[in-house]
């Protein structure tokens, strides 16, 4: 076990994957010599050479399109979109191409690739460095969508994603890169290096896709969350003094409905927390599935705490960000019903 930041854990996963499998190639904007603006690929070019880790032109379309061709060839591209906010130019190559290649060719060609991207706000990044676009991906049949919340999971899930035979969207909650953030923006964070959850298994291991993790056992209410919001949920439940069962989804699609519905059936109450805008966010789908699976066990209506339906503002960051106080209010509301 080694203490690592989430950045180091991601880098370690790349390193191990490149070492084990020479089909793994890594590219994207600034990922080569410099090692990425968040340094997640630092050192890889020096170690594996320029043809396995290199800078790409600023064309998200080109980066994903090249990766689709490479994956069809037989390589295992792992590519970085510099911020999730910049994935839109590549949506066609992702949704129409990567996601459907296996299906439309009846398996003649496949598309094992991983598209990594830093996601979410809380860093005063304004509307173009803060978005959480997961719902765009979870609506596309043929994609898997993953978001880790700890260095250990980041490494294990990334290794699993790289080995997956299908395209995986790998969303990295950038607010967690250096340490857990519980939404109390006025307090300093504990860096991963000094945090229990900063301990990462050495060497190769995988954290399987499609499996949620129960971060806290509880009886009164189930909180469904992922990424940064897991810590916000933990803090809020603790402060509210409510015995919440907190589930970190880890993989949004395929969703671990079993773990979710077992919990909701037990608690009878469900709160969903995410950072993305509300309307048609992933929380809507969670609400629908919980309702479909647990309707007769629900003692209260399900509540969503999410980002507001506005672009991500700059100055009003903490009014936008769904922090502990909104989660606490929702928990109280749920318990009163």
């Amino acid at each position: 076990m080694t203490h690592m930041t989430m950045i180091e854990a991601i880098r370690d996963a790349h390193d191990i994957a490149m070492e084990r499998d020479e089909r793994v190639v890594v590219f994207g904007e600034d990922v080569g010599y410099f090692g990425g603006v968040f340094r997640c690929t630092a050192g890889l070019q020096a170690k594996y050479g320029k043809t396995r880790c290199f800078d790409a032109p600023i064309s998200e379309l080109g980066i994903v399109g090249a990766a689709v061709g490479m994956a069809a060839y037989g390589l295992r591209p792992v590519i970085e979109i510099q911020f999730a906010d910049y994935v839109y130019p590549a949506i066609d190559q992702i949704a129409s191409e990567a996601a459907r290649l296996r299906y439309r060719s009846a398996g003649d060609f496949t598309c094992p690739l991983v598209i990594r991207m830093p996601t979410g706000g809380g860093i005063f990044g304004g509307q173009t460095h803060s978005q959480s676009p997961e719902a765009f991906f979870t609506h596309v049949s043929g994609l898997k969508t993953v978001m880790p919340s700890s260095p250990q999971d980041a490494k294990g899930l990334l290794l699993a994603a790289i080995e997956d035979p299908d395209p995986v969207i790998f969303l990295e909650p950038k607010r967690l890169y250096n340490g857990p953030f519980d939404g109390h923006h006025d307090k300093p964070i504990v860096p991963w290096k000094k945090h229990d959850l900063g301990e990462v298994d050495d060497g190769y291991y995988v954290t399987p896709l499609g499996k949620a993790e129960i971060r806290r056992q509880g009886e009164e209410v189930t909180i469904l969350s992922y990424g940064t919001m897991v810590y916000v949920a933990e803090a809020a439940a603790a402060e509210a003094g409510i015995d919440a069962e907190i589930i970190d989804l880890r993989t949004l699609l395929p969703l671990d409905l079993e773990t979710i519905s077992e919990s909701v059936k037990k608690t009878g109450r469900c709160l969903i927390v995410h950072e993305a805008t509300k309307t048609c966010g992933f929380g809507a789908e969670l609400m629908a599935q919980v309702q479909e699976a647990c309707f007769y066990h629900l003692e209260s209506q399900i509540i969503r705490v999410t980002g507001w339906d506005t672009p991500y503002p700059h100055a009003q960051e903490w009014d936008y960000f769904p922090g502990p106080s909104r989660v606490i209010d929702a928990l109280h509301q749920l318990m009163e019903n």
């Binding site: 190639v25 043809t51 396995r52 790409a56 032109p57 064309s59 379309l61 080109g62 399109g65 090249a66 990766a67 689709v68 061709g69 490479m70 069809a72 060839y73 037989g74 390589l75 130019p89 066609d92 190559q93 129409s96 191409e97 290649l101 296996r102 299906y103 439309r104 060719s105 009846a106 398996g107 003649d108 060609f109 496949t110 049949s141 043929g142 898997k144 035979p165 299908d166 499609g210 699609l253 395929p254 969703l255 409905l257 079993e258």
Partner: protein
């Protein structure tokens, strides 16, 4: 601050519309044999003119002339003629089948047969094409079974794509034919990615991207040129300029430059135009470009000048937007006629042989068709199982799809 005249928008128009007299008189056609054949490691700056001229081998008398002649034996030319006749016959039968309701949709190649048929012969086994919907000659010329193609068109039980894809959206890795996408342009960039992968892997295989004149306006075209130029990818980038993009003439995509090939100049990519209705010229240029890629000289941009003699697809009636006679006025002629004429000119073919060949091909196509129809046509006979609709979205079916499949009752 001088007051200037009001601005106005320039909207290019084709030379003729329904009711007009077709007029290609300002379409300059260089003499066959006139364009030089540079070495494969040529400096792109030295062949800038080649994007504005047209490489042609067959002259008006049916003679093969100039430095690009001679890449094929008589035997190979006759084989090529057979391929083109086969593609045309196949198209005619399938278009008819579509009209008869045996399938939902069809796209033919009328007038463009030389391009994909000749191009395929310049490739090696293992090379990969990223085609559009108008290069079935790549399969025909590689002896892909016609029955398989028809099974796909009919979406029957033996359709290799399990009924999932629109007719003619073939896929065959074995035959170096990447799964066709309905979304224009996307495959052009993927071809570059595949070629980069080959280079990364120290392989010797090359890729070919295909795109239509209209689709060069898409973003993928640009991305492909950027990546191909930067990484010197072993790829041939083919633009099939058949003058039309559904109802839109090529001037709308091309804008204020003479040719599509010229787009390569902004990227330092050797760029040439070739007579797409000249089987010999297409083959010679394809061979040159493929050799460039294989020897590590990087990408080549090739524009094939041709004419879409039929409708865009089975859903299209071109008489609504272009003069019916335009097809006949098209100055580069018909690729089958021209190769036939050449073979006759050099004393290796005759009208009778041609008629016999047509009959022989028709027989083979009809046989393949019977075989495919014995399995089924769209909605008739043996069909892929609805159960299969849920397969292959992922390698392993995730729980939500299992639930949906059960809900669907399959």
């Amino acid at each position: 601050m001088n007051k200037t005249a009001p601005l106005s928008l320039n909207v290019p128009e084709p030379g003729c519309r329904p009711g007009d007299e077709p007029d290609f008189s300002d379409f300059e056609i260089p003499k066959a044999g006139a364009v030089g054949r540079p070495p494969v490691d040529v400096d792109p700056n030295d062949i800038r003119d080649m994007a504005f001229s047209i490489i042609r081998v067959l002259d008006s008398k049916g003679e093969a002339v100039g430095p690009w002649a001679g890449t094929l034996s008589t035997q190979e030319l006759i084989e090529g003629l057979y391929h083109m006749i086969t593609l045309r016959t196949f198209d005619a039968r399938m278009l008819m089948a579509q009209r008869q309701g045996k399938t939902s949709f069809y796209i033919q190649h009328l007038g463009e047969e030389a391009i994909s048929c000749a191009y395929r012969k310049a490739l090696q086994k293992g090379d990969m094409n990223f085609p559009t919907y108008r290069q079935a000659g790549l399969l025909i010329a590689d002896d892909y079974p016609m029955t398989e193609m028809m099974n796909q068109i009919y979406s029957n039980l033996k359709d290799p794509l399990h009924g999932r894809q629109l007719p003619i959206m073939y896929s065959s890795k074995e035959h170096g034919f990447f799964s066709i996408s309905g979304n224009l342009g996307t495959q052009f960039m993927q071809a570059v990615g595949w070629a980069m992968a080959s280079a990364i892997s120290g392989d010797t295989r090359i890729a070919t991207g295909w795109i239509g004149d209209g689709s060069t306006a898409e973003s993928d075209f640009h991305a492909a040129l950027v990546f191909a130029s930067t990484y010197k990818a072993p790829v041939v980038l083919n633009i099939v300029n058949n003058q039309w993009a559904i109802s839109t003439f090529q001037g709308i995509a091309r804008g204020g430059v003479g040719t599509f090939a010229a787009r390569g100049h902004g990227f330092g990519i050797p760029s040439v135009q070739v007579d797409g209705n000249d089987y010999l010229a297409v083959h010679a240029v394809a061979q040159w470009a493929a050799e460039r890629a294989r020897l590590g000289h990087g990408p080549t941009l090739v524009e094939y000048v041709t004419y879409r003699a039929g409708g865009h697809s089975s859903s299209d009636d071109p008489s609504a937007y272009r003069a019916k006679e335009e097809n006949k006025a098209w100055p580069l002629g018909d690729p089958i006629e021209r190769l036939k004429q050449h073979l006759i000119t050099i004393g290796e073919w005759s009208d009778e042989q041609h008629t016999d060949a047509e009959a022989e091909v028709l027989k083979r196509v009809v046989e393949a068709q019977k075989e495919a129809e014995a399995v089924g046509t769209l909605g008739e006979g043996d069909m892929p199982s609805p159960r299969d609709m849920f397969e292959g979205v992922y390698e392993t079916m995730p729980p939500h799809l299992v639930r949906q499949r059960q809900e669907a009752g399959f």
